[in-house]
Each structure stands twice: as structure tokens, then as C-alpha cells.
């Protein structure tokens, strides 16, 4: 298997506050890695660095062997290959669902409108959103909006998909429909890095779970072992708190 992503010694600070303190992580193609950890542990920042929404202060990141932290790299070309879905959906409110999904393929990949829209409709249909194509995002439920956001990222046919706590802003009854989409993508072999608070989901969708704490990966391993038999004391405490909070 070839390597999809590699991070080495990634550091990132905001105004003197060090959020990432040396992250090493490697993902093979078709692998699904879940990042767990308390809010503020650096999960989101890590994902944003892989998508170049944030510049790393030190360390290097490779995507399919290309050093994306190198000087003079074409950021837009990298972002085409690395999709990201945000907690707050961030759909474009002034565009229909169809336009949201077909915008980047048209502008970035220079696909003709007909082709981009046909592809968008096909993707929307695949995720049960065919009848929403002409609606504006504010007409959709949170779960539907997040599914559109996933479709929007998929329309660029990315090599890797980054999911940043995509169910955290949803009402509990809407979480399942979004997670089902991700399960389906995992089943199809999409390489994904998923920051999540949904431990059940992390357990059954991922090949590997990384526990982030204070900007470091404290422990990583296969989900069964991580959840049933964590070795690190902090991982244990974090999981105990999650269980006590009834989230697992």
C-alpha cells in the first residue's frame, strides 16, 4: 500500500500559544484514522494544517509523497486533493445546493457547467439529496446541510478527506444520517482523517485511533485495543470521562 499522508514533527502556535507540539503521523491509502481528545487538544488545527488552511511553524507534511510544506508549493493544487468538511458546514448561503457542489469543479478543475452539474446531481442522488439540488442551504436541516458539505468536498474527487468534528453542531437525532455517509465512504476505501467526539463511531469506522492531548499524540492503536485497553494513563482518564458523560 502506498502512503497517503505523512506528518513529521509538526508544530503550530497561535500568538505564542503552542497548539501542536510535534505531531508525527502516517496514513496509508484507504486508511481511516480517528483523532480523539478533549476540545483544545489540537485536533482541528492538525486537520487545518494538512489542508494548508494553517501554515505549520516547523515540521513537514507529505501528501502522496509530495512535501506540501515546502517553499513555493502550489497551495491550491494541494487543496484540490485534500478535501475538508467543517463542524459548521460553511455552505455558501447565497447559492443553491447544486451550485455549492458544482462551483469548485467548475472554477478550479475547469469542468464545463453541464458536466459539473451532472456530476453534482449524481453525487447528491447517491447521498439521498437529489430533491434538494435547487434549494438554498437555509431550507435544509443541519444533517442535510452537512451531507451537502460532504458532497461538495467529494465533488473535487479528493485523494484524502479530512472531517473536523462534523457532527458536533448537529442535533442528536441528525447525527446518524451523517455518520452513515462516512461509513459508506470508508467502505469504499476513501482515505480519511476524522476528528470526532463520537466514540462508538470512531470505534467501528476507523483502522486506527489517535489520542491527542496538549498538542501531542499520546497514544495510538487499533480501535478495539484503544477503547478496551488503553495503556496511557491520560487516555484512560479521558475515556472514563467520556463514558461517565454517557457518550459511549
Amino acid at each position: 500500500m502506498s502512503e497517503a499522508i505523512r506528518l513529521e514533527g509538526v508544530h503550530k502556535s497561535f500568538d505564542g500559544l503552542e497548539v501542536l507540539k510535534g505531531i508525527d503521523l502516517a496514513l496509508d491509502e484507504h486508511e481511516v484514522v480517528c483523532l480523539i481528545g478533549a476540545s483544545g487538544s489540537g485536533k482541528s488545527t492538525l486537520l487545518r494544517c494538512i489542508n494548508l488552511l494553517e501554515r505549520v511553524d516547523a515540521g513537514r507534511i507529505w501528501v502522496h509523497g509530495e512535501d506540501i510544506t515546502a517553499h513555493g508549493v502550489d497551495q491550491n493544487a494541494i487543496r484540490r486533493r485534500v478535501g475538508i468538511v467543517f463542524q459548521a458546514f460553511n455552505l455558501f448561503p447565497h447559492m443553491t445546493v447544486l451550485r455549492n457542489v458544482s462551483l469548485a469543479p467548475m472554477k478550479v478543475l475547469r469542468h464545463p457547467r453541464e458536466a459539473a452539474e451532472a456530476n453534482a446531481r449524481e453525487l447528491l442522488a447517491r447521498f439521498g439529496l437529489a430533491d434538494k439540488a435547487e434549494d438554498y442551504p437555509d431550507r435544509l436541516s443541519g444533517g442535510q446541510q452537512q451531507r451537502v458539505a460532504i458532497v461538495r468536498a467529494l465533488a473535487m474527487d479528493p485523494d484524502v478527506l479530512l472531517l473536523d468534528e462534523i457532527t458536533s453542531a448537529l442535533d442528536p437525532e441528525l447525527v446518524a444520517e451523517v455518520l452513515d455517509v462516512i461509513r459508506e465512504l470508508a467502505g469504499q476505501g476513501m482515505t480519511m482523517v476524522i476528528a470526532t467526539h463520537e466514540m462508538h463511531f470512531a470505534r467501528d469506522v476507523s483502522n486506527r485511533v489517535c489520542f491527542l492531548d496538549g498538542g501531542r499524540i499520546l497514544e495510538e492503536g487499533p480501535p478495539d485495543r484503544m477503547f478496551s485497553d488503553p495503556t496511557n494513563e491520560r487516555t484512560k482518564r479521558f475515556l472514563d470521562r467520556i463514558i461517565a458523560a454517557g457518550r459511549m
Binding site: N76, G83, F86, P93, L103, A104, D138, M156
Partner: protein, 278 residues
């Protein structure tokens, strides 16, 4: 109380409200009118400002001249909208490479927002033709028109900029994350949302512009617009009624525009309350 009874009493209260409003309006306006009419200067005022005969004679030609104002307004407006957007985009640019653009745009806006419009109109309207530069128009009205564009573009650029900055950064992040360039993101995602939001404040600037077309009267003796026409009639008749005529011309345009702006603002407010996107 039954439901229907309650509804009835509410309706009754509504009718009472309308009655109170009507009575108090009639009383207040009536009092003001009475004081005005009973003042010793009333007949003089009426003769000077509300002279029916002068009005009937002068209004048609003032209204005719007012077409000139509409022309100034309608031609200046699109230029202002385009130029101001350019200024706002320049000022919103990021990165050290674009520093000169930001600097230029900032200086421009500071300068023209800080100078009274009438001063710009005079300076250009009299000044540029006096330079007698070959190839440049020598009509005062043209340079007055240019002055309005220069001055109003600075205001409108600031309105645009406020709109651009009001679009949440996550929108730009989402579009950049899809691989759109900064310019594509600005053009397709940020500016359309920004412009929708600033339509009401832009309308206010247009209303001002509409009025300020009268300033061109000061620098153009030959292209006669409504205010200049009124001034000339007034000077000939020793009567101020033509000014009232000119005022009516402007009001015909500005009052509906103001109400329309109010309506837009109210609609925007309702949508925000409903949690919808703009």
C-alpha cells in the same frame, strides 16, 4: 373570556388606536398650520414661496431641466459602483505584494471622504477646464460629474468594505479549502454575500448623490439642470417659488427611494430574525 371575545376586544383596541393617532395628528398639524397662517408674515411668505402663478409658469421648465439631474445620476451611479468595488477589493487585499494597492486605496478614500463634495466639484469644474489641456473636455458639467464620481466612490468603497468584512472568515476558508484562488473566492463567495448585505446603505448614498447632482449647477453655465433653472427663474421674477418647484422635483425621486430603502432594511431584519441567510 372566550377566544372570540378576546379577539373582538383586541380589534376594538386597534380601532381605538387608529382614532387616537388620527385625532392627535390633526390637532398637532392643525396647530402648526394655524400658527403659520396667522403669523403676520404669512401672506408675504406665501407670495414669495408659494406663488401659484410663478409656480405654474416655472415648474414645467424646471421639470424639464430636472431630466439633466436624472441623466447625471443615472450615468454616475454605475461608474461609482464599479470604481468603488475596485477600491474596496484593493483595500481588502492581503499579503505584502499588494501593499501598494492597499496604501493607494486607503489614501484615496481618506482624501475624498475628508473633502467636502462641493469643494471637489468646484476644484474640478472650474480648475480642469482652466488648465486647457488639449484633448480633455472643457465643459464644466463634465468635470462636476467626474467630481461627484470621485467623491461618492470613496463613500461607497467604505460601504463595500464593511460588507466584505462582515462575511464570516469561515466562508473564505471553505472556498479556499476547495482549491479556489483568493480572487475566485472573493468573486464567487465573499463579494456576492457582501453586496447583498450593503444594498440598503448603498441606497442611502444614492439618495445623497441624487440630491448632490444640484452641485453641478455651480460649475456649468450651459448645461442647465433643475436647480440652476430655478435660480435663473427666481432671479428674473424676484420670487423664490421656483426653488420650491425644484425641491418637489428632487422629492419625487428621493422619497420613494427612501421608503424603498426602509422596506429593504425591514426585509433584511426579518430574514435575520428568521435565521435565514442574506
Amino acid at each position: 373570556m372566550t377566544r372570540s371575545a378576546r379577539r373582538f376586544s383586541l380589534k376594538e383596541e386597534g380601532a381605538k388606536g387608529v382614532l387616537i393617532a388620527t385625532v392627535s395628528t390633526v390637532v398637532v398639524l392643525g396647530l402648526i398650520a394655524y400658527l403659520a397662517v396667522s403669523s403676520p408674515y404669512w401672506s408675504e411668505f406665501k407670495d414669495q414661496f408659494l406663488n401659484r402663478q410663478v409656480f405654474a409658469e416655472s415648474f414645467p421648465e424646471i421639470l424639464h431641466a430636472f431630466r439633466r439631474n436624472i441623466f447625471y445620476f443615472l450615468t454616475a451611479e454605475p461608474v461609482i459602483l464599479g470604481f468603488a468595488l475596485l477600491l474596496a477589493v484593493m483595500r481588502s487585499s492581503r499579503g505584502p505584494v499588494f501593499f501598494p494597492l492597499r496604501l493607494l486605496s486607503t489614501i484615496y478614500v481618506d482624501l475624498f471622504r475628508g473633502i467636502p463634495t462641493v469643494l471637489v466639484v468646484f476644484a474640478l469644474g472650474f480648475g480642469v477646464p482652466a488648465l486647457r489641456i488639449p484633448g480633455l473636455p472643457v465643459d464644466g458639467w463634465f468635470w462636476g460629474w467626474v467630481a461627484l464620481i470621485l467623491s461618492y466612490s470613496a463613500y461607497v468603497a467604505e460601504v463595500y468594505r464593511a460588507g466584505i468584512e462582515s462575511v464570516h472568515p469561515s466562508q473564505a476558508a471553505a472556498s479556499r479549502a476547495l482549491g479556489l484562488t483568493r480572487w475566485q473566492s472573493l468573486r464567487s463567495v465573499v463579494i456576492p454575500q457582501a453586496v447583498r448585505r450593503v444594498v440598503p446603505p448603498l441606497m442611502n448614498d444614492f439618495i445623497s448623490l441624487q440630491k448632490d447632482t444640484a452641485l453641478i449647477a455651480f460649475v456649468s453655465a450651459f448645461s442647465v439642470e433643475a436647480f440652476l433653472r430655478a435660480q435663473r427663474v427666481s432671479a428674473g421674477d424676484f420670487n423664490f417659488t421656483p426653488f420650491v418647484g425644484a425641491a418637489i422635483c428632487f422629492l419625487i425621486i428621493t422619497i420613494p427611494m427612501t421608503r424603498f430603502t426602509d422596506w429593504l432594511l425591514e426585509r433584511q431584519r426579518r430574514r435575520r430574525m428568521a435565521g435565514g441567510a442574506l
